[in-house]
């Protein structure tokens, strides 16, 4: 199945309009057609690549003007990329400009019909959903009043309700969940979860990093038009918040410390490796019970995860974590060294950490072992390797389900 949103080598260039740009024919003629104005451009987005899997929610974070909204609009088909391309699959629903397309002089009812059709529904389809839309927006009493008499909250509710009732396959949301009272916000979040379960792909632009960490599966950090990081939401959000806090005394120059691994994969900073790198993890190995490095196990085998660390400076009580995820990103198991309160040592220099799973009762399929070292308060990651170390369980293809505990069937026939 093609992924619902794929962005390949996307760049977007805007003309920088100086005040002396000729807005009229008259000026253009007076200046003379022959004389070209010096062209001044800036890149709003540069070489952006990413893909979203169906049913996943991606949060776009970054500072104001970083290019998040431009990216969202381009995905929605507003404007064209200067370079690269965007492939989308399915009906797109958008909550980009709240209340855009709603006319103040028309009633809520009239606006629902017009905007429903503009969003890509047939008139008949709007009519069928009309009650649901009004119901969700809680606007039964006001539906025949002009839109201009609505409060901001009512407008937002109507816009959201309409957008979620158009059955989008891809939902683009730009910083709108902040509007509306708490009860309605919760209702929106619930609806968003229902969408995800139905396999709808959601892209959310938000400055609320906590919301992104809570709601999204993945996060994409856009910085000055480039992808600064793309990975699991929690990790990227922490990294982003940390970078924002330390803007002035930036600890880590993001120089590309890339290295190749034994298994042929490459560790690339901010692609599959995240963190401040104050402390580094390397030589991650997976062993079976015969202490042989392996990428293949049978269900029920033990697994030993070993990682070496090096800390050029003393690190106080770091937390080490190991996460097992299925190929599609579903987390199967997430474990970490005990909380620092229990007294993990100060780490300095080189060393090894080993985790032993007594038995791994996983269903056949492909998995990843993600490893990480975190600051003692979970404030941010020192080093985190994401989808780098593959692990295959059993032979054959991915089965449904995750667990395969030891099991046997019994039969008992009752005799009369």
């Amino acid at each position: 199945m093609p992924s619902p949103v794929a962005v390949e080598g996307l760049s977007k260039r805007f003309r920088r309009y100086s005040t002396d740009r000729a807005w009229t024919l008259q000026e253009t003629v007076l200046r003379g057609f022959g004389r070209r104005q010096s062209e001044d451009y800036f890149w709003a987005l540069k070489e952006v690549n990413f893909e979203v899997v169906a049913g996943k929610m991606l949060g776009l974070i970054g500072r104001n003007g970083a290019g998040k909204s431009t990216l969202l609009r381009l995905i929605g088909g507003v404007g064209e990329p200067s370079e690269g391309r965007i492939l989308t699959n399915g009906r797109i629903g958008a909550l980009i400009d709240l209340g855009a397309g709603f006319h103040p002089d028309l009633t809520g009812r009239e606006n629902i019909f017009i905007n429903g059709v503009i969003s890509g529904l047939l008139r008949q389809e709007v009519a069928l959903r009309f009650d649901d839309i009004v119901d969700f927006a809680e606007l039964e009493e006001f539906i025949d009043s002009p839109f201009r008499t609505y409060s901001t909250g009512m407008r937002m509710r109507l816009a959201f309700s309409l957008a979620v009732n158009t059955d989008p396959d891809i939902l683009l949301i730009d910083e709108v969940l902040a509007v509306g009272d708490l009860a309605f916000q919760r209702k929106c979040l619930e609806r968003i979860n229902v969408f995800k379960e139905k396999g709808c792909t959601i892209l959310l632009v938000s400055h609320d990093t906590n919301l992104v960490a809570k709601l999204c599966d993945e996060a994409l950090w856009v910085n000055e038009g480039r992808v600064a990081a793309h990975g699991p939401a929690e990790i990227v959000v922490k990294q982003y918040s940390n970078a924002m806090q330390n803007e002035t005394q930036r600890r880590t120059p993001i120089n590309q410390i890339n290295s190749n691994l034994d298994n042929g994969a490459a560790l690339q900073v901010n692609k599959n490796r995240f963190g401040s790198l104050e402390m580094e993890i390397h030589n991650v190995k997976l062993f079976n019970d015969r202490c042989k490095p392996t990428e293949y196990l049978d269900s029920g085998d033990p697994l030993i995860v070993e990682m070496e660390y090096s800390a050029p400076q003393a690190i106080d009580s770091p937390i080490f974590g190991v996460t097992l995820t299925r190929e599609d990103g579903t987390v199967c198991c997430d474990t970490n060294t005990p909380a620092p309160a229990l007294g993990s040592p100060v780490v300095f220099g080189r060393g090894k950490v080993r985790l032993r799973f007594e038995r791994l009762d996983l269903e056949n399929g492909s998995y990843f072992v993600d490893v990480g070292a975190y600051q003692k308060d979970w404030a941010y990651a020192y080093d985190y390797h994401w989808q780098v170390y593959p692990l295959k369980i059993g032979k054959g293809n991915q089965k449904k389900g995750i667990l395969k505990p030891p099991q046997h069937w019994e039969f008992e026939q009752e005799k009369d």
């Binding site: 807005w23 009229t24 609009r73 019909f113 503009i118 969003s119």
Partner: protein, 257 residues
């Protein structure tokens, strides 16, 4: 792009957008529909006064003659004027993911066509008063509507994106339309133009259209088919080019608005 990307969808979209324009026009106005009639009626009054009393033109049934020309011209003129706002005033829609912007020029011409249709009964009253009999030539009216629609639409496809780039297009358009008004046989007959200029004069498609309407309504005769066919072909060619121009400009709209 929406999956229901087909003719039924476009029909619904067209219907809603036209409905919106019409509703908005009459929503908060006391006189409502009368507004769209008032303008041609006032023009009729003024021109009729001048050319029946001040500078008498010897044209039979002058009021009917004049009103036919005025109505046809009003549809054309208001469409072109509205064309300048077709994109600029619909920023919301243009910035909507997957919105087919090319439908906006169609909405513009269609909305003004509806105003034209609403004014048509008054013209029929004029015909009744003048004692001009109805004829089966009126069956050709839909064909004329179609030709005028296509011709107007083709121009709108050029004007709408031009106004996005140059915001003084509407002033220039005002001058050209004023010129067009006097260069079309609205309050005079085309035959008064001297022979040596006739060919040049008839390059104006509105001459063909207005004469065809008059031939049907006032003389009960089918209009000359050749000129109309030629005009249809020209319109279709223009429409094709205009649409291409529009498509090219479309990607810039989001930035220019």
């Amino acid at each position: 792009m929406p999956q229901s990307w087909n003719l039924i969808y476009l029909r619904d979209l067209l219907r809603e957008l036209i409905g919106r324009d019409i509703k908005l026009r009459y929503k908060r106005s006391l006189l409502g529909i009368v507004w769209s009639l008032l303008n041609p009626l006032m023009q009729l009054l003024v021109l009729s006064l001048i050319f029946r009393i001040v500078l008498p033109l010897d044209i039979p049934n002058y009021n009917t003659f004049l009103f036919t020309g005025l109505l046809v011209w009003t549809w054309f003129q208001t469409s072109l004027f509205a064309a300048t706002g077709a994109i600029v005033d619909n920023r919301d829609l243009i910035l909507r993911p997957g919105f087919p912007a090319a439908i906006l020029p169609v909405v513009t011409v269609a909305t003004n066509f509806i105003h034209f249709l609403l004014a048509l009964p008054i013209l029929l009253v004029f015909l009744l008063i003048s004692g001009i009999p109805w004829s089966d030539a009126m069956l050709a009216l839909p064909f004329l509507f179609t030709v005028q629609f296509l011709f107007t639409l083709s121009l709108v496809f050029f004007i709408a994106p031009l106004h996005v780039r140059f915001r003084d297009t509407q002033y220039l358009l005002g001058i050209i339309l004023l010129l067009g008004f006097y260069l079309s046989p609205i309050f005079y007959e085309a035959s008064v133009i001297p022979q040596q200029y006739q060919l040049l004069y008839r390059l104006n498609p509105m001459v063909t259209l207005i004469e065809a309407y008059r031939s049907i309504l006032m003389q009960g005769k089918y209009p000359g088919i050749l000129n109309l066919l030629l005009l249809s072909l020209v319109s279709i060619a223009l429409l094709w080019i205009g649409y291409a121009v529009f498509r090219r400009a479309r990607s810039q709209f989001a930035e220019e608005l």
